[in-house]
């Protein structure tokens, strides 16, 4: 047991050293060797200073980092929330009821191979560059992931469990809510997490193309004026928010789907 603990500490040290080494190498190549100019590849210190600066100043893209962040999160949560609210029940209904499956699935299969962000140009033409078009793109992207995973989850219900329900005289509703949905919960959560990833990606794409605020807008503007330090700050912020969202959803999953192979 003690041996194992010692080993874990050893590996943790290696991990810390590895990250530190990469940052040191980054600093060395850019700031000491001057391998690339800082206008192309900024060093770690410059990125850090830019981060601190961007928290206070609105230049050069018209808003602070927090303002961009908030704008992005608002749209993402709106589109994602709608997608999950429609997608999960739809997936469950398709898997539970043969007739829903027969009529809805062909239509669903039709839009499924189209990545959510391919709709961006159409929605921008129809609804402008405001919140509606972006939320719709995110809605479509997360809808697909939610439907696919909820559908698979419900389909995994063991028939024997349903028979047990039949034997004890469960109604169809009871079988759905007491047997099938609990069985499907881990898959439903997988879907929700995949959907969150696609939602965040689609949002960044939409903001890159046409927007007036948001993190995607910020990095696109920074490219136009050649400020890679701002781009890297924006990318790290995008990554951090994605990671935080995912961690929150994971916590909810552990709470709701107790012990059901929630890793």
């Amino acid at each position: 047991m003690d041996m194992k603990k010692q080993k874990n500490v050893f590996y943790l040290c290696i991990s810390v050293i590895s990250v530190a080494a990469v940052i040191a190498l980054w600093y060395f190549l850019i700031n000491v060797m001057h391998l690339k100019s800082e206008t192309v590849f900024p060093g770690p210190l410059k990125v850090f200073y830019t981060f601190l600066q961007k928290l206070q100043t609105k230049a050069p893209d018209g808003a602070t980092l927090q303002a961009h962040l908030w704008a992005s999160i608002k749209v993402a949560v709106l589109g994602y929330g709608l997608g999950a609210l429609v997608g999960v029940p739809l997936g469950i209904a398709m898997a539970w009821n043969k007739w829903v499956d027969r009529f809805v699935r062909p239509l669903f299969d039709l839009i499924r191979p189209i990545p959510g962000l391919a709709w961006i140009p159409m929605f921008i033409l129809l609804f402008g560059i405001g919140i509606t078009s972006k939320a719709l793109v995110i809605f479509l992207g997360s809808l697909i992931a939610c439907v696919v995973n909820s559908y698979t989850g419900i389909r995994q219900t063991k028939e024997t469990h349903l028979w047990v329900g039949d034997v004890f005289g469960a109604t169809s509703g009871q079988k759905l809510f007491r047997i099938a949905i609990p069985t499907a919960l881990p898959m439903i959560f997988t879907g929700l997490r995949v959907a969150l990833g696609t939602a965040w990606t689609a949002l960044v794409a939409a903001e890159l193309l046409a927007s007036t605020k948001g993190l995607g807008y910020m990095i696109q503007q920074a490219r136009a004026i050649s400020r890679p330090d701002i781009i890297i700050v924006g990318m790290l912020a995008i990554g951090a928010v994605g990671a935080v969202f995912d961690a929150v959803l994971h916590l909810v999953e552990i709470k709701v789907a107790k012990g059901m192979n929630a890793k």
């Binding site: 943790l12 839009i111 962000l117």
Partner: protein, 263 residues
Amino acid sequence: MIKKKNISDKTINVACACISIGAFLFLWYWGTAFTKLGMLIPGPVEVLETVTAGFFGKVGRHSILVHVGYSMIRVMIGFIVGSVFGIVLGLLMGWYRIAEAIFNPLFRIIRPIPPIAWIPISIIWFGLGENAKIFLIFLASFSNTTLNSMAGAKNVDREVVNAAKMLGANERQIFTTIVLPASVPSIFAGLQVAISSSWATVLAAEMVRSSEGLGWMIVAGMNNNDMLQILSGIVMIGVVGFILAIIMRKAEDILCRWNKSGN
């Protein structure tokens, strides 16, 4: 008796699919031909005509097939390089604890950043040409395959490994004859995700900066207020996405024939 029932079930499915898709097409046609919606969105007949015309004529500088070719070549190069790197790194991280300790923290910093968020910085680093796009697709396929190969190598049955050790297999033999084949189903799951993520990424990259490809086609449609071009682009994007998914599934069927649960 059973066979007969199966056939009729299939006929019902096909009939329902025809009805629902037919109803959708009819609604689309009716809505665009007889209401004011027609001012905004072209009908299905016009879209079909534009697609067929695009095959022989030109959209922008090339025919639709050439645009598809451009997008596909970008995806293929980036996807192949990215997945080779991803599979190697993922297997190493999944099997050797030391490799995991070194690379996993770095990987976990990079992974939450969607490939699309790399678009601005890749343009600064690699310019507007092909390299930037291939780099993005490399990233998209790399992170997905790494994650799944790692999970695959981690979940190798310990008893099989111990049996091999007992029979005197060395480290290299265990890795190539047990870990590698046992991870194949998981690797393929990663490749499936990677190909659809690459497809979405190439579209985004082409939408931001390009002068050919399907992503260019829809974004040029947006800039010229040409809804027909956007919709025919979306149709082609769906068709190609569908074909890519089918190819991957067939390859998996052939290579993982031994794996009964892997479907």
